[in-house]
Symmetry: C3
Subunit: 143 residues, 3 copies
């Protein structure tokens, strides 16, 4: 069995943004030499996500909506919140809620040396607390 580990370092200047990291994962897979196996890609911070999403510009519109939805879930920023006014809420939790909704990681099959997912799927990094360096782990095992 072979294994391969890489850490991506990302610096996103804005507080919230999304970056397609599929090409970087494909490069790591090429370097690994692994033909058949599993590839885990995960954010190493509680204020960012790794998730699978649409392979197009539609991203912007969808994400805008998704972020609206997520922001709305956070009482301190919601006008129409069903939560009582006295709910104990910490602003630090907002990025964590966003991560919980979009997800921490993706697990992707490796088949014949390539990432084996749907034709419209791409791997994205979601930043919810930018302005500092963050790390993403890529772990590939197989043969």
């Amino acid at each position: 069995m072979k294994s391969h580990t890489e850490y991506l370092t990302l610096f996103i200047p804005s507080e919230v943004d999304f970056v397609n990291i599929t090409a970087k994962v494909e490069e790591a897979l090429r370097r690994s030499g692994i033909q058949e196996g599993l590839c885990l890609v995960n954010s190493m911070h509680l204020s960012s996500s790794v998730f699978m999403h649409y392979a197009e510009q539609a991203l912007k519109k969808d994400q805008q909506h998704t972020l609206e939805l997520m922001t709305w879930l956070h009482p301190s920023e919601a006008r129409a919140s069903p939560f009582p006014q006295d709910a104990i809420v910490d602003d630090d939790l907002d990025p964590q809620h966003k991560r919980r909704i979009l997800g921490r990681d993706v697990v992707v099959a490796v088949t014949r040396g390539s990432l084996d997912f749907g034709p419209m799927e791409q791997i994205y990094y979601g930043e919810f607390d930018g302005g500092r360096e963050k790390r993403v782990l890529i772990k590939i095992i197989g043969e």
Copy 2:
């Protein structure tokens, strides 16, 4: 290390429906000959899900409720939505939101040649945009 890859093709005539695919995953596992390892099962489309759910008829009632919840999360179909009327929303996003909530994939342990999960757990395929063929990937690695 052994690896085994199969693609299920599903055609769900209705727009939204749920199918228990546990038996199909077990057949793939049998064909793989793998006794100890990990099994990834994922939808290859942004408008469908693979997720773990209750092993009984309760599915119907729960899913009905879950779908109500998910539908409600989608502004264009919600009466009591907290979103502004001018929110940019695309109808194509509805299946994607459903997928985000139910999930893209499941990772299951393989122990002594069997799927190793709880006695009430089963693997389901969720269709949110039926009427055309969709694919599900089964990837098993181990020995």
Copy 3:
């Protein structure tokens, strides 16, 4: 390739609670002797979760809020629910909804014999229907 399987048994006396199980997963990893690979940890019950969360006391406050959010999502306990009064809802579904939101499992990389995740990440067990024994599966494959 090596594989290692352990089942944790947990008894949580209260209906809802959260337990950091990172040390138990690390012990299992040590016993496995695996240096490079993947580790799956999953709840084997539909009324409990395994998820990644903040490595501090902040847990309490966050979870309190998260549970509020989750409870609110469940119509039978919500005052401001957008669901029609006649929605078919079963009380047994509440723990399942909580599980769906927090998640069933985590997949963690194993690098140089250690769990390879972010410095603030820890593995938690979430109980939503306590008072009876529950099981958590730890499966590690690698070499």
